[in-house]
């Protein structure tokens, strides 16, 4: 062994410089500068919005829409292209053409803030372990396919949760991040105020548990949740629930069968203030042994399904958009690949 090439002094955490390598030339600072995947604020806006700029908003309406236009509750969207320009203008504050915004009439008392759907993704830094970003991407895509503008707001856990969102998504995560997320959401209060305003909230796994009264945290203690759903979660004594799930949705919600993948230890009991979201055909769901899966009340939903759940069940994303617009139906949007995936996963999950 030779000491020649490894450092003489071991650095202590207290006394280290800013990203230091001693007298590092400035190039070092730039080296990773174009790989900032972690900056949530930047990550999703520029590249994705440029992408959507190439999208053909017009065609789905003009060609497939007519029968649906007859429905009395159907919103008048105006010209989707124009709306998109409007949206870009709002986001970038740039030199978008100064045309008057089309008159938007979103059915009855629309919940939608101004002309774009505000999708708030809660704490991706803590609760985004199982591809939960997919739920935000699918909601955004399904809304844009209907010509809606979408403003996605990714809220990191050191930022306050805005109360003016239309749809809030909160995902799954590991045990310690789950405790930190519950603490910060309780202290922040934004999500609870949004719920009081009637916001639509869709939660998955660890996020679902946080919306309840309490769960067992990584220290083995009872951790208070937000109490937005009348459920409470204990630690399951048996094996972890891992695997494919098939579940029939509560008939009141009028949704096709859910397919997903579960991976959790918690067992969630439902109180009288909620209904089960679904009943499992395959899988464990809430883990209570009575076949219930997830929970819902009004516009607040919880599920154990990953996949992500919206990618496997785009009808769930459409439901949230309908609730946000306060309409009963949406213009059709292509579901070819979702349908094929669903058929494959449902067949694979069914016992032979």
């Amino acid at each position: 062994m030779s000491d020649q090439y490894y450092g003489q002094q071991q650095p202590q955490f207290g006394e280290q410089g800013q990203g230091g390598y001693g007298q590092q030339p400035p190039q070092q600072q730039q080296q990773y500068g174009d790989q900032q995947y972690g900056q949530y604020e930047h990550q999703h806006q520029q590249p994705q919005h440029q992408q959507y700029g190439q999208q053909q908003y017009g065609s789905p309406y003009e060609q497939q829409q007519p029968p649906q236009h007859q429905q009395p509750q159907q919103p008048q969207y105006g010209d989707p292209q124009q709306q998109h320009r409007q949206q870009q203008h709002q986001q970038y504050g740039g030199d978008a053409p100064q045309q008057p915004a089309p008159q938007q009439q979103f059915g009855r008392s629309s919940r939608m803030s101004e002309s774009s759907l505000r999708v708030v993704w809660v704490y991706p830094d803590l609760l985004s372990t199982y591809g939960d970003r997919g739920n935000a991407l699918v909601v955004e895509r399904r809304a844009r396919q209907r010509g809606l503008g979408v403003q996605r707001i990714d809220v990191r856990s050191d930022q306050s949760v805005p109360t003016s969102g239309d749809i809030y998504l909160i995902g799954g995560g590991e045990d310690r991040p789950q405790r930190l997320a519950a603490e910060r959401l309780r202290n922040d209060g934004g999500l609870v105020r949004a719920a009081e305003n009637g916001a639509i909230i869709f939660s998955v796994c660890a996020g679902f548990q946080i919306l309840g009264h309490e769960f067992i945290n990584d220290l083995g203690e009872r951790e208070p949740g937000l109490g937005l759903l009348d459920v409470w979660t204990v630690r399951g004594e048996g094996a972890r629930c891992v695997g494919d799930v098939l579940a029939d949705v509560n008939p009141q919600l009028n949704l096709p069968q859910l397919t997903g993948f579960e991976n959790h230890q918690g067992v969630t009991h439902l109180g009288e203030g909620v209904s089960p979201l679904a009943t499992v055909q395959v899988g464990r769901g809430n883990g209570t042994g009575d076949g219930t899966e997830g929970a819902w009340r009004d516009t607040v939903f919880g599920t154990y399904l990953h996949g992500p759940v919206m990618a496997r069940n785009p009808a769930v994303a459409d439901l949230l958009i309908k609730l946000a617009l306060d309409v009963n139906a949406l213009p059709p949007a292509d579901t070819t690949w979702y349908d094929e995936l669903r058929a494959e996963r449902i067949a694979a999950a069914r016992p032979a």
Binding site: Y5, G7, F13, G22, Q28, G33
Partner: protein
């Protein structure tokens, strides 16, 4: 056995029990090989370990052992370190990526009068293998989400490393740009910090020490709450140069593509230096590595050039996207979800497939429909195909970049030689 310097057998020096175990293991390996089931080193190792549970310790007793662990890049880095250390003496290595105790034992049972043992170790087994083999150096490259349906959570893995390595006498060569690796290594006595970079940041927004929100200005990172922060690196990757602790800059000339391999070479140079191999010598030797277990291999198939690339998890896909030819190079994506891949495909949604805009894209593999939905939501054009042949025949001109996860990659390799 590839990756093994075969010289005079050393079995004569082994204790009787170890000798019997090694012999039985070799018989099992030979049988397995005859049956056409791979190299047989894993089954051989299993048989041998059953007969002598201390065999791993016995086999490594006379070696200067280097362990290499990470979520991504461990097979390649093991290979680079092995090449570098051959400057100082014969090396034995589990070069084929059999990285759990049985596979490691199987590879070392063929060992000879080697001086160095350069061993790739699965993340989960690192503390155990580090205890049994008494390594002189341990390289920790990166930690990120991978196979969540069966592996431990990423932060827990860092915690396990930290706990399992805190009493080791080995020199730890650790990536200072990865907060989880830094957390794992920072309880160790001797650490060489390497600024090797880490493009994927999504698993380290929460401070591994206190849970505070991590601040990440530029290349730096620190916890706003507890003061846990990026250590000053002794070595650094800067552009295409390795900067050594004496501020010497050495050009890296690899056949292997991509930023991630420049990082692997930097860490490998730091490891080689622990054994007195100077960086210029180490880097020169690394230049000979062209493909590692078929990865990065450019093959001919149906009259076309296809580069085979392995990407198993979001961090791996991210690094792979940064090294492929730009549009309009055709890209084939293949994803399986067999046991060895992890059976949950939700990680596809952590990968920025949006970056493939402009490439003709072909989608295949057991879970091609999951990929199809992912690409549809990314608003990309793509074709779903049933086989590599179909993709290649439909692809426009130019070298084809084929990116696949673990078992899908093995299938691609088989397809191109068929």
């Amino acid at each position: 056995m590839p990756g093994t310097d075969s010289e005079a057998p050393r079995d004569a020096s082994l204790p009787a029990r170890a000798k019997i175990a090694v012999t039985a293991g070799k018989m099992a390996a030979a049988l397995s090989q005859k049956a056409g089931r791979g190299s047989g080193s894993v089954i051989g190792g299993k048989v041998a370990l059953k007969l002598d549970p201390d065999l791993l310790a016995t086999l490594t007793e006379h070696l200067d052992v280097v362990l290499v662990s990470a979520t991504n890049g461990k097979t390649t880095t093991t290979r680079l370190i092995a090449e570098a250390l051959r400057a100082a003496g014969p090396v034995v290595s589990n070069a084929l990526g059999a990285n759990m105790p049985a596979g490691i034992t199987g590879a070392l049972a063929n060992s000879t009068s080697a001086r160095f043992g350069v061993i790739e170790v699965d993340e989960k087994y690192l503390p155990m293998v580090a205890r049994d083999t008494r390594p002189k150096a341990i390289a920790l490259l990166n930690l990120s989400r991978d196979q969540l349906d069966r592996a431990a959570e990423t932060r827990m893995m860092a915690e396990k490393w930290r706990e399992g390595l805190k009493d080791t006498d080995a020199v730890i060569i650790a990536n200072a740009d990865d907060p989880l690796v830094t957390w794992a290594a920072s309880s160790c006595k001797k650490v060489v910090w390497v600024a090797a970079g880490q493009a994927w940041k999504e698993d380290a927004w929460s401070c591994p020490s206190c849970g505070g929100v991590m601040q990440r200005p530029g290349d730096d990172w620190f916890c706003g709450e507890c003061g846990f922060r990026r250590p000053n690196p002794h070595w650094a990757l800067q552009g295409t140069h390795v900067i050594d602790p004496h501020r010497g800059a050495w050009p890296i000339q690899l056949q292997l593509p991509g930023r991630a391999n420049l990082a692997n070479a930097t860490s490998s140079a730091a490891v080689a230096a622990v054994f007195g191999v100077a960086p210029q010598v180490a880097l020169q030797r690394m230049q000979s590595v062209a493909a590692v277990a078929g990865r990065y291999d450019v093959v001919q198939y149906r009259g076309r050039d296809i580069r085979l690339l392995l990407a198993k998890n979001p961090a791996g896909w991210l690094e792979t996207f940064s090294l492929i030819d730009g549009p309009p190079a055709p890209v084939v994506l293949s994803v399986n979800a067999l046991d060895a891949d992890g059976t949950d495909t939700s990680w596809l949604w952590d990968v920025d497939y949006e970056r493939l805009a402009g490439h003709p894209i072909f989608v295949m593999g057991q879970r091609r429909l999951d990929l199809a939905v992912r690409l549809e939501v990314a608003n990309l054009q793509f074709q779903v195909v049933d086989s590599l042949a179909q993709a290649v025949d439909a692809a426009p001109g130019g070298r084809i970049e084929a990116i696949a996860n673990y078992t899908a990659f093995q299938q691609l390799r088989k397809a191109v030689v068929a």
